[in-house]
Amino acid sequence: MVELKGVKKRFGDLEVLKGIDLRVDRGRIISIIGPSGSGKSTLLRSINNLEVIDEGIILLDGVQVNRPDLKGLAFERHINHIRQNMGMVFQHFNLFPHLSTLENVTLAPRKLKGMSAGSARKLGMELLDRVGLADKATSYPSSLSGGQKQRVAIARALAMQPKVMLFDEATSALDPELVEEVNRVMKGLAEEHMTMLIVTHEMAFARDVSDWAMFMDGGVVVEANTPDHLFSHPEQERTQHFLRKHLGAHA
């Protein structure tokens, strides 16, 4: 489904991804944990090409995402098409403030897939219902709580029926009491076997929801294993050190 081979990324002199290999099969849920600056967000954003990688290849269903050979409009067309198959959820929601909740969800299917207003509305209401916000369809983002905003953002990403969902610290900007409602929606997606890549600092949630966990530090994958194994019996010293610090705080 998603495959990364030897992905490298530099910001100036700083190499933030030092050759990442990763394979995500259909229906798998993978958590990426690690300290800030470890490169985990950059990795996720690279998959969506929001960061352009310097070396390596990224594949979605066998189609190469990064295409250094394509320039200008040709690359535009290519990447817009690829992105329509990936859902991205941001730390700061990035809902469109000038559109109502329902319009936020239906904008992409209507304008990009040419869906009729009626069926877009139906789809939008279904998705809003799924994240528990059907009653907020006509509200504007400014009147929603952080947790509600993030649930709408998830519905917005789902509206394009993506093959994979990318969550970039989806609950990091939320007040603690609002984290759970977003986690519940994500768990619901996991139960429906949505392919998901989750960058998070919620260790308990990562352990609970994912079936593969990766620990990143300094631009490399230090350790990857089943969540039970990674969290209970970390093999690398850096992983042990990180988990000691964070499980203490989050447990």
Partner: protein, 217 residues
Amino acid sequence: MEFDFSPVIDYLPTLLQGVGVTLLIGLAVAVMSVVGGQIVAVITLYTRKMVNWPLRFFIWLFMTTPLLLQLYFLYFGLGELILIPAIVVGVLGLGFHYMAYNADIFIATIKSVSSGQYEASRSLGFGHLRTLFYVILPQAFYRALPQLSNNMIIMVKDISVLSAIGIGEMVYVSQYAISVTFRPFEFYITIAVIYYLINLMMEAGQTWIERRAAYRR
């Protein structure tokens, strides 16, 4: 001193015609300066400096010199090249003047839309242009509304200046009436009252628009 408003009553139809001209000019200039200002802002922001420097220069020039001087230049300058009616010169002059002011606002509000909005739109699969039209510009417009409506309120008052180049709005038609009736005080007071009423209505409209736009920001 005694006031006699009966000449004003006599000339009421002429005066009202002047009011109509004022309102029509206001509408034309509003449309031209808002639409044009947005286009100028987009071109200025999304083209290379080499390409857009004339636009930046004209925005700056229109904002640092008086409207009346610009009007005289257009009136005598353009008038020398081609024969165009004064009213066209007036609408263009006022239109360009406020287009510069509005472009200045749009440039700031477009810049103020966060990069996260751009990323969210791109991540859904929207290209540059669609992101601009569906996401960036609508938000920039709502953010510009308070200053934009302020500009339009100031602009309507500036329509009175067009009388200087002979356009038949309120002040100009009154000047004719005054030359016949010798009642400047009564006529100018009447114009001031009409302007004040227009202004009150525009301020009410501004509050209404503001309230409606506030939750979309």
